[in-house]
């Protein structure tokens, strides 16, 4: 009995010290899952890149339900992982509660601002990138009608939509933009069937370029658009390879860079709000061998001009989340 106790005690001590001494980083993916071919996958790629370059190890977990957020955060903080990175705005309220309990652990949250001394909040200027792909969409459209399909109806997704519409109107003031949101619950990130039906509905109304900002639902959108031989625009990760010839471009949100940077600095993570945009490469659009035949030199020039204009401050793209309204429809 005593021997048993000793062994148990020793293992427990070992486990504790091992956890504390290693201080490996950890990452928690949101409900979309780390292979959603989009947002979470970008985060996963950033973590993998860090592991490959430094030879370090990290721990990750994919959530299965809403209820696991706080539990997963506490488990990683308790085990001594530092920093703990989480992808997604939905972690905000859990992190708000958990962060003060572990003052020595650094947390990084992507897509949301959490005001705690040991938290880094990374947010992106998605409206800038959406503006650029909007220009491309308007120029590639033959019908003058383009579409937008969002995931869950939240201000962040409206920010994508608003930037996109501004870009479309900048390139073609007479263009029509059809907008749909998949739903109002988190299930809207994971409903490829509904995404496909929405895409078909938009194409029936004349849309020939559709931008999907909808996580796993977007996979269905891209599939339906490719089946119909029209053009789609991917989001977050570079999705050009999914349907070569049918994906005009992808709006890149370098979540991988944010994760990579957080992992690289380790426990000395600088806290506070970090805003990534076009100027620092946190936001971009994708050009590769899969879409080079779809993008004409004129389109490329227009997009590059707009990009330079946004970086220099000449073009101001309205941010939906600054006042929860969009100047154009």
């Amino acid at each position: 009995m005593t021997l048993m106790k000793k062994i148990l005690g020793a293992t427990a001590a070992l486990a504790l010290s091992a956890g504390a001494a290693l201080a490996d980083p950890a990452i928690i993916y949101d409900l979309g899952g780390k292979f959603d071919k989009s947002f979470n996958q970008a985060a996963h790629e950033g973590a993998e890149r860090w592991a490959k370059e430094t030879g370090g190890t990290y721990k990750d977990v994919e959530l299965q339900s809403e209820a696991q957020r706080e539990q997963a955060l506490r488990r990683f903080a308790e085990a001594g992982f530092n920093p703990v990175v989480m992808t997604g705005f939905a972690f905000a309220s859990s992190l708000e509660k958990v962060a003060p309990d572990y003052p020595d652990t650094k947390f990084a949250i992507i897509d949301m601002v959490v005001d705690q001394p040991n938290v880094r909040s990374v947010v992106f200027k998605e409206h800038e990138g959406s503006y650029l792909v909007g220009i491309m969409a308007a120029m590639a459209s033959k019908t003058g009608t383009v579409g937008f399909i969002g995931g869950m109806d939240i201000p962040l997704i409206r920010k994508f939509a608003c930037g996109y519409v501004q870009g479309v109107k900048a390139a073609n003031p007479n263009a029509t933009v059809i907008q749909n949101m998949t739903g109002t619950t988190p299930a809207a990130w994971n409903d490829p069937v509904k995404g496909a039906e929405l895409a078909k509905a938009q194409m029936a109304q004349g849309a020939d370029v559709i931008y999907a900002a909808a996580g796993g639902t977007g996979v269905g959108v891209l599939q339906a658009v490719a089946d119909a031989g029209k053009l789609a625009i991917g989001v977050d990760s570079n999705q050009n390879y999914l349907h070569p010839g049918n994906i005009l471009t992808s709006m890149l949100k370098r979540v991988d860079v944010a994760v990579y940077n957080a992992f690289k600095t380790g426990p000395e993570l600088e806290t506070g709000i970090h805003v990534l945009g076009l100027a620092d490469g946190g936001i971009d659009y994708a050009m590769d061998e899969y879409n080079k035949d779809l993008v004409t030199p004129e389109m490329l020039k227009a997009v590059e001009d707009a990009k330079a204009g946004i970086i220099s401050g000449e073009i101001e793209v309205h941010d939906y989340m600054s006042d929860n309204s969009c100047p154009v429809e």
Binding site: A187, N190, L198, A201
Partner: protein, 326 residues
Amino acid sequence: MEHSQNFVLFLVTLNQMITVSVVLIFAGLAGLFSERSGIFDIGLEGKMLISAFFAAAVSFATGNVWIGVLGGIAASMVFALIHGITSITFRGNQLISGVALNFLASGLTVVLGNAWYRKGGQTPTLSGDARFSEITLPFADALRDVPFLGPIYAEVISGHKPLVYVAFALVPLSWWLLYRTRFGLRLRAVGENPASVDTAGISVIRLRFVAVLIAGVLCGLAGAYLSTSQGAAFGREMTAGRGFIALAALIFAKWRPWYLLMATLLFGLLEAISNLFPNIDVFGLFTIPVQFTQALPYILTVVILAGFVGKAIPPRAGGEPYVKER
């Protein structure tokens, strides 16, 4: 022949109504058979999910979508059998058994998907013969120029994937089976008054197992439709509550096959409308927000349940395990 923009939109709405209601027809009929025999089935969702996964996985492995559909049906029938054993043989609580199956399907699909494909629970994208493609009915092109009816035939009735026609054929078949055959009479009786069926010398247990397994086949078709016909891959939780909407449609239809067809088409129409016209402007007076159209099926079901419009009376012996008198 050129049509006005409004007429084209009308055709598109009807077309979408059909594609989105098919999964509800399959699942609703599954619920119909099961509940008419006295076995509540809240596990429609789980059976559809497991079938969607196996249909996609088997299609991907064999490259033949019909074998994939059989794979989906087989997986769904295994789940139906578990439901039967727990709730008929061991007289367990039917609701709990159904909920457990939903959880099992939700977890199992992701675990197996991760182990086999390492894509976070998704299956690889299906292409070519591993997924269904549209079939054009005879004379669709020839009749296109007939005024009004021609385009409806060509755009709405023709040009769907095979399982769509299977679903619409199953409605009259189910009606015939339930109301015009001896088997159907017994099946309905066993859901109302199992003791009388037993007195007549017919096995209650056997009848209920048959009903539950028929539900398994139909849920299998529903799941396979989602992943190989409407979509082109399995994604985790891709049923997204459609099993529960089907249950709502079943209540709305008062557990009758033809009413069920109407209810599912109505729910499908509402979804098609919310897809095509997110915000409906009523003569410039006010707008109906998309959330209202999306919630309407549930509101209607609650209204029916509350007894305002007709009354929905479930099978009398529903939910109660049958205990033979000793």
